[in-house]
Symmetry: C2
Subunit: 331 residues, 2 copies
């Protein structure tokens, strides 16, 4: 079933002018999100992406124009390329630089949505490298103590090699995703107070009202601070837009002008203590949980086990989405 | 009053064998914490530090032995030096490297407590540079869903230049500091449920019981993930101990074996959009707050205004601490 969906996605991207390699990579990212139980970053993103390819807002042949502005700093114009294509191309160049510099970074503008960030830091961890990836987005999140959507959901992923179960953190700096609020609206279920404010800036339990308002940052002032740091860091380095001016990851009317920032580090440039890390993480997993039925987890564990189950049991796509994709194939 | 306390602190450090420059820098860090209303990182740290100098656990003359393991990666053996001395020495070297590499990092082991992290990223912002500083500590924080103290409070600071009001984030990844819990215990005031568990792993409102238990991470699973990322990143790169094995920032019996990690970035290696950032931050500050009496703040604003007030009005030190420092001066 994943293989069938992968072929379908690849063929659809291919038919809209994507390079075979680019189509395969973009499809792989979407399928991997499905396998991890992250449908908000899975195949439901594909119809919009196809439309963007058709309209020239995404270029399925572009790799991104990379320039070393300094020895360890890669400046990337994404040339409207597919997000994963531009990111993986930049990551390859950073990796080549590490024997010389130990750390190298890439600041990316003008690339399409890069999707599930865990994908990239997992790939780095497989190569024995530490990676940090940040991205910005349309304004959806209000500042702590504020009421207006003025920050992106500004996700960050951090991957650190540790045996066969690397540490893989991937979090949005909002308390919840807009997708989850939409899902509550579809089901007619109220949202907890504290998740969002309505368009007038009042805290609301109504998921419909929340969709025209703003989502809260996670972790109060601290999570707001982290989200804002990502907002500023990415814009300053990539020259991308600040979130109130961002378009192009949720629509098919605008070029994507958000930014992405990648950090790649060779642990061997430092003291590289992978065996100690692995033992420590195993100790965490075995430490006494608050609820005996819910063992302590390390970021990445949940996604790994969901992926293993999905590979064994297959992916279930919502029927309307499957219909839509099949219709697009015939188009 | 700050000047008098600064002279007292400098003289005390000097009398325990610190270099004049090292004594002045360490005293400045402690005074700056007091000025920002952060007494937990202020002069109350000084008696322990003096004892550590006397016992040879801190070396007031060491600068840290710095080696470029790769072109942008500085390996630092702190040689038991005073935290701010080793960090500022490493920062100087990173700064010298930026014209060549754009980004440079330092991994530090074997340095004493580096104190308030904001100090370092503020200094970088004054130089027009972006800085990220992370540090580890003794185990005080339990994993999300766990009950055992297995992580440090693992603070992170991020500084980004933006006109005369730079962004300065400085947060511990615990929901609250152990100092605040101690303060509740001293005053006999219960703590909110969710701040901590007791030694048996049960959530507690008793601040005395909390002191032998563990503090919660901030922001649930996300804050835990961030704190754990810092734990692993620092240990992997600096070769420092993982928090269950860390000693030496709260005692005067052990060498300090936690680690510190510094990242310095030249915004001019990227697109460096400082005017746009400044305008955006001003827009955030002026955006409608949830409570009209509490305007939206940008990280760094609160500390700046507390500092300005303290410079005008002076610092009030708790009398027992002032007595203790005066007695140490006579000793």
């Amino acid at each position: 079933m994943p293989d069938q969906l992968r072929s379908l996605a690849t063929a659809l991207l291919d038919s809209r002018g994507a390079d075979p390699q680019a189509a395969a990579l973009q499809a792989d990212l979407l399928i991997e999100a499905e396998l991890r139980g992250l449908p908000s970053h899975g195949l439901q993103r594909l119809p919009l992406l196809l439309s963007r390819l058709e309209k020239g807002l995404a270029d399925g042949r572009a790799q991104g124009a990379c320039t070393w502005s300094r020895k360890a700093f890669l400046d990337v114009d994404g040339e409207r390329g597919l997000g994963p294509v531009v990111v993986m191309n930049a990551m390859r160049r950073l990796k080549q630089k590490l024997p010389e510099t130990g750390i190298a970074v890439a600041a990316i503008r003008n690339a399409n949505h890069i999707g599930m960030l865990a994908y990239y830091v997992e790939a780095a961890a497989r190569d024995g490298l530490i990676a940090i990836v940040m991205s910005t987005s349309e304004a959806l999140v209000h500042p702590f103590g504020g009421t207006k959507a003025m920050l992106g959901t500004n996700p960050i992923a951090i991957g650190i090699p540790a045996g066969d179960r690397p540490f893989v953190l991937d979090l949005a700096t909002s308390v919840v995703s807009m997708g989850k609020i939409r899902n509550h609206a579809l089901r007619g279920v109220p949202i907890p107070l504290g998740w969002a404010v309505d368009a007038d800036g009042h805290p609301t339990a109504d998921p419909v009202a929340a969709q025209t308002g703003a989502i809260a940052p996670f972790g109060d002032a601290k999570g707001y601070g982290l989200g804002l740091a990502i907002e500023l860091l990415v814009a300053a380095l990539a020259g991308s837009a600040l979130s109130p001016d961002v378009h192009g990851t949720l629509d098919d009317d605008h070029a994507a002008n958000k930014g992405d920032f990648l950090i790649l580090i060779d642990p061997d440039a430092g003291k590289g203590a992978a065996p100690a890390l692995t033992a420590y993480l195993d100790g965490l997993r075995l430490s006494r949980p608050l609820d005996a039925a819910r063992p302590v987890a390390v970021p990445g564990d949940g996604a790994r086990s969901r992926r293993a189950a999905a590979i064994a049991e297959g992916i279930t796509l919502p029927h309307p989405l499957f219909e839509q994709l099949t219709a697009l194939e015939a188009a």
